[in-house]
């Protein structure tokens, strides 16, 4: 029972008997059924191979041991240390083999999917890299699809993801720093950057924040995003995320820093500027003139998605004199018999759309289709026919919704959706004056934001002339001698 009492100490040495070794493991990992103990005899010694089923794939290991079992028969009496040495040097032709001297390491290795080999009588064990790479293969990036450009997206495997980036940037200065975050989950988190491109101060700041992050678990990169973002209460994201290795690579080349998290295809990129959320990697794969037009269209759509309903409310309830007469006549005709004020009308429609949208995400693909058809019919036709909302309002809500989808970054789309409702309330109470005041406050807020200490509005405020080549517009690659991000 001495083992049990000592179990608390982390650096506890391994015992020298097989049964005590197994008992020690069981104290730490419990008697979970997926922990497999394979007992084999190598000559005079009893050996146990421990691994976690599913996490580890010990087939190659077992095969190697069995094929080489003959050489252990020459030992007449148990010589565990020599046995281990022999195993390590000759038998195991596996990628990663290492010696283990305490239980903490045993735990780590087992949980990481490696196998631990222990020979009766020894005071240390061997770990063999048997990690089962059972994972999704590289597939299309679903959340950020492009017409032209690489199709592959990140997977859930951290190693695969770092490889996807390394394959794109074969620069010896590409660095990966790895750490484990999450008290319970012990999730691997990798920080990637190109030495020389990345701002050392930003890097230092990021390391500091990651060190300070007290996390119980990390299941997705947002767990980390929330811990490292500069401002907790802002509708705008100050950390960029992407599913595309090419846009991650481009961010690294611009001097940004990527944070990869085991178990999610979404990697984080810092520092993030507002303009970044309007840029799609496809901008660089298309002709520059077209990319420029598309980019301007996105800024325009951002304004539409943010302002159309509130603008409509403000103008139709406060500033009717601003509407061209013929349009006003038509609007009045449409609103005839609508029981709700314009604000409520807009609110009902926007909420209905949000409901449909949320339902569309959650529902299985096949049902989602029919729901959206019913939704369109309900909103578009029946609501107007029933005299609940005016046809103009349907147009306003649909153009808003569609414009929202042009934003290449999903999370800035969420900001717009939230702010839209705020602006609607303000427009209904204060009209255009309210909208203008709200926009001024919004502008001030954006200027006050920072991402890893870099002003969020960089390239506008502070104004950078050089960056204008790739902000609203994208000039041809000839005019951009190198990546100038540098931040």
């Amino acid at each position: 029972m001495t083992q049990l009492e000592n179990a608390g100490s982390p650096q506890e040495k391994l015992p020298d008997s097989l049964s005590a070794f197994i008992e020690g493991i069981q104290v730490r990992l419990g008697t979970s059924t997926d922990i497999i103990y394979r007992f084999i005899t190598l000559g005079p010694s009893s050996v146990v191979v421990v691994y976690i089923e599913g996490m580890a794939d010990p087939q190659a290991l077992m095969k190697a041991i069995h094929e080489d079992a003959g050489q252990f028969n020459e030992f007449s009496e148990p010589q565990p240390e020599r046995c281990l040495k022999l195993l390590q040097d000759r038998t195991l032709s596996l990628g990663k083999v290492g010696g283990i001297t305490n239980y903490t390491e045993v735990e780590t290795e087992l949980l990481a999917g490696n196998s631990v080999i222990y020979i009766d009588g020894s005071t240390h064990a061997l770990s063999a890299g048997t990690e089962a790479l059972k994972q999704r293969s590289v597939e299309d990036a679903v959340s950020q699809s492009v017409v032209r450009g690489p199709r592959e997206g990140f997977t859930e495997s951290l190693r695969e993801n770092t490889a996807l980036i390394r394959r794109r940037i074969q620069n010896p200065k590409l660095r990966i720093e790895q750490r484990k975050l999450g008290e319970q989950t012990q999730t691997n988190v990798a920080v990637m950057y190109i030495e020389g491109n990345a701002d050392p101060e930003v890097l230092q700041e990021l390391r500091r924040r990651l060190d300070a992050a007290k996390l119980d678990s990390v299941l997705e990169s947002n767990y980390i995003e929330e811990m490292i973002q500069d401002q907790r209460y802002s509708p705008f994201p100050t950390v960029y995320n992407t599913e595309r290795p090419d846009s991650a690579a481009s961010a690294l080349l611009e001097g940004r820093i990527a944070i990869l998290v085991e178990g999610t295809p979404f990697i984080l990129v810092v520092p993030a500027l507002l303009v970044q959320f309007f840029q799609s990697s496809e901008d660089y794969y298309q002709r520059s003139d077209f990319a420029t037009l598309v980019r301007m269209l996105r800024f325009f759509c951002f304004a539409i998605a943010l302002l159309t309903p509130s603008f409509y409310i403000a103008i139709t309830t406060f500033h009717q004199e601003m509407i061209p007469t013929t349009l006003l006549i038509s609007l009045i005709g449409q609103r005839e018999g609508i029981p709700f004020p314009a604000f409520l009308e807009a609110f009902i429609m926007e909420i209905t759309f949000e409901i449909l949208r949320e339902a569309g995400i959650r529902l299985p693909k096949s049902i989602g289709q029919s729901v959206s058809i019913v939704g369109t019919l309900v909103i578009g036709q029946a609501a107007v026919d029933a005299g609940l909302v005016s046809a103009a309002m349907v147009i306003v809500v649909s153009i808003t919704a569609i414009a929202n989808f042009t934003l290449p970054a999903f999370n800035v789309g969420i900001s717009v959706r939230m702010l839209r409702f705020v602006l609607m309330v303000i427009a209904a109470s204060f009209g255009l004056f309210g909208i203008i005041i709200a926009l001024i406050i919004l502008g001030l807020h954006l200027c006050s934001l920072e991402s890893m200490g870099i002003p969020y509005m960089t390239s506008f405020a502070p104004m950078r002339r050089q960056s204008q080549k790739d902000t609203f517009i994208r000039l041809s690659r000839r005019t951009m001698k190198k990546y100038f991000g540098q931040n």
Partner: protein, 401 residues
């Protein structure tokens, strides 16, 4: 945390609970399309033409057969007084911002419009881009009670017909409130307004039946330009007179013109461009003399008669004829205004003021009398640019064969 939350909640309730000052929903508004003001023994008789939303704004084309507009009339000692009284009849609040035309009855115009315009320009709700019209030999209310074809809303019909006829015909005035008041308040010039009158059966114009037949029984038509002396209507100009005013004021975009052809018959032209320039000079006695210089570009549109257009000299002949004719008729028309009305609607005094501010002082007080006798010359320069798709007139062709 709770305090913060409570604070936010209070701020939000501030916006919602206070009610929305000056908020008005579209379906609370009675959209006034036209305003008519007449003289009445009790003050002013104000007529408003209000859009009937169920009918006019209906995209399905007014199938219920109702009228697109409704007119209300009320009498008050002032215009706002009458408008206020009207609310006892209208189901909704009158909204004046979208008035397309303001029609003034002739009787009121002759007595002076400045009291009415004071209200119109003082009211913050009104825009200033509507047109001012005088109802020739009629009450304004009559004009507003006619249903028009094409345009659902009669006021819109009036508005766009002024725009079109001003642009293509140039015998109507496109006078907005702003322009009228500027001319009114400026020394050395007098304002004009465009006139409208009813044409045809005056009894049944107010019913939808009016537009049931291919040729509507009653139409609103333009009636030349009304000459004002300060704020009082003094008389009307016929079509040539109205065109002259527009030529001199440089308001002509495009119009038509006829001229005797050198080879006999008539030649028709379309004026595509016209620039006018007012020149002031002092004669030997130190009296001002005015020269209106016109630069006109025209296209030949028709020749009713014979003329050898193969010869460039004949085009020059036409140009010379045209120029002489323009000089003569414009001078005559201007003289008519000078002598008949003595109202300087051309802004000659203004031009004198600008060029000879010191001399103007001696004229300022009695410019109206001096205007009657002042010498005005017209010098026009006309260039014919195109003669159309054929060269020789058809009559000439027939003869040659």
């Amino acid at each position: 945390m709770w305090r913060k939350f409570l604070c936010i909640l209070l701020i939000i309730s501030l916006t919602l609970l206070t009610g929305c000052w000056s908020r008005k929903e579209l379906n609370d508004l009675a959209l006034v399309m036209a305003l008519g003001i007449d003289l009445d023994p009790g003050g002013y008789a104000v007529t408003v033409q209000v859009m009937n939303p169920g009918e006019a704004g209906n995209q399905k084309g007014g199938s219920s057969g109702g009228v697109p507009v409704v007119t209300y009339q009320a009498i008050g000692r002032t215009v706002p007084d009458a408008l206020q009284r009207m609310l006892s009849m209208t189901p909704r609040m009158l909204y004046l911002a979208h008035i397309r035309v303001l029609v003034i009855g002739e009787a009121l115009a002759r007595r002076g419009v400045s009291d009415v315009l004071d209200f119109i320009s003082r009211n913050h709700e009104l825009r200033t881009d509507f047109f001012l019209l005088v109802a020739k030999e009629s009450r304004a209310s009559k004009i507003l009670e006619i249903i028009t074809p094409f345009e659902h809303i009669p006021a819109n019909s009036l508005y766009s017909s002024i725009l079109v006829s001003h642009k293509k015909w140039a015998a109507t005035g496109k006078v907005t409130l702003q322009q009228f008041i500027t001319e009114l308040e400026r020394g050395g010039s007098n304002p004009v307004m465009s006139g409208v009158q009813l044409n045809g059966d005056r009894q049944n114009g107010g019913s939808v039946n009016n537009v049931d037949t291919i040729s509507p029984k009653t139409m609103i038509e333009h009636a030349g330009i009304a000459v004002f002396k300060k704020d009082k209507l003094v008389g009307w100009l016929d079509e040539p007179g109205s065109k002259t005013v527009n030529y001199v004021l440089d308001e002509v975009d495009s119009t038509v013109s006829n001229e005797h052809s050198p080879g006999g018959g008539l030649a028709g032209f379309i004026i595509t461009r016209s620039d006018s320039n007012l020149d002031v000079r002092l004669d030997a006695q130190g009296k001002p003399e005015f020269t209106v210089r016109l630069n006109i570009e025209a296209n030949l549109t028709t020749i009713q008669g014979k003329l050898n257009l193969n010869n460039p000299a004949s085009i020059e002949d036409i140009q010379r004829n045209l120029e002489q004719d323009y000089d003569l008729s414009l001078t005559q028309n201007i003289r008519e205004v000078q002598q008949k009305y003595g109202a300087d609607i051309f802004g000659f005094g203004e031009a004198l003021h600008r060029k000879y501010p010191r001399l103007w002082r001696t004229y300022r007080e009695n410019w109206e009398d001096s205007f009657r006798t002042v010498k005005v010359k017209v010098r026009s320069k006309i260039v014919i640019q195109r003669i159309g798709s054929i060269i020789q007139p058809l009559k000439q062709e027939i003869e040659e064969k």
